[in-house]
């Protein structure tokens, strides 16, 4: 028999006390991506061709470059939050879980940096 009080037995077993930020971030990035992804899909359909010059000229337009950077940011952030939950749900032992979560985060940071830098490089290279 435990000598702990009933209150002592349940304290600390509840919610982690965090999570609202994660929840909100997931939804805000989702809402941001509704217009951004639809714009992206329609733009791809509307491009005269998908060759090097046509796509470069399209990306290099300032408004397109800005929207693409916003899309990359929202997408990578949303992906980071989403895959984090998947890992937390399915990897139970804390050691491997921490390692995979750290790797996931690093991959997402790398993706964001690469995507944003790529748009910058394309935009500053034009006009060809």
């Amino acid at each position: 028999m435990s000598l702990k009080s009933p209150l002592g037995r349940v304290l600390g077993l509840g919610s982690a006390g965090t999570g609202t930020e994660h929840w909100l971030g997931q939804r805000l990035s989702a809402v941001a991506m509704v217009p951004l992804t639809v714009w992206f899909a329609l733009s791809l359909l509307g491009l005269p061709a998908l060759d090097f010059y046509a796509v470069t000229a399209w990306v290099a337009a300032p408004l397109h470059a800005i929207l693409l950077v916003l899309l990359v940011m929202a997408l990578v952030y949303h992906s980071s939050l989403g895959t984090q939950v998947v890992v937390e749900d399915y990897i139970r032992s804390s050691g491997p879980r921490a390692v995979v979560l750290a790797l996931l985060r690093l991959v997402h940071i790398a993706l964001a940096v690469a995507g944003i830098l790529a748009v910058f490089l394309i935009a500053t290279r034009a006009p060809l």
Partner: protein, 130 residues
């Protein structure tokens, strides 16, 4: 504190399979697929930034049959995740929880995603054929 052996959820084996849980699982699966798609998207931008040679190589991969199949798969994942995401946002705002409504919006989401994928690729291939 010693770990307490608590019952784990979800109890996949005791519940009847139905549209709501199928679509929920599909939302997560398409989300993971789209995360991999994000790598492809960034690679596309990187190839474009790296110059004509690398862009040609990248285009070659995704104009191959396997590449096209991947793109079609990602298109469906995108439209499904988008439509079902809007359904989730409506739930977050408190709408559409009735069992019959949730069922109908679920069917609507799958239908919309399939149609949008079809329309997108018909338009895309029509442009190539021009």
């Amino acid at each position: 504190m010693s770990p307490v052996s608590r019952p784990l959820s979800p109890h996949l084996q005791v519940y009847r399979w139905q549209i709501s849980n199928t679509l929920s699982i599909l939302h997560r699966l398409t989300g993971v697929a789209l995360s991999i798609g994000a790598i492809a998207l960034v690679s596309w931008l990187l190839a474009l930034a790296s110059g004509q040679g690398s862009y040609a190589q990248f285009s070659w991969i995704f104009t191959s049959l396997a590449g096209q199949l991947f793109l079609i798969g990602w298109t469906f994942c995108f439209f499904y995740h988008l439509c079902n995401g809007l359904r989730h946002l409506a739930w977050d705002a408190g709408y559409g929880f009735d069992k019959s409504v949730a069922r109908r919006t679920g069917i609507a989401v799958v239908t919309a995603a399939s149609l949008l994928t079809l329309i997108f690729w018909v338009l895309a291939l029509a442009r190539v054929a021009e």
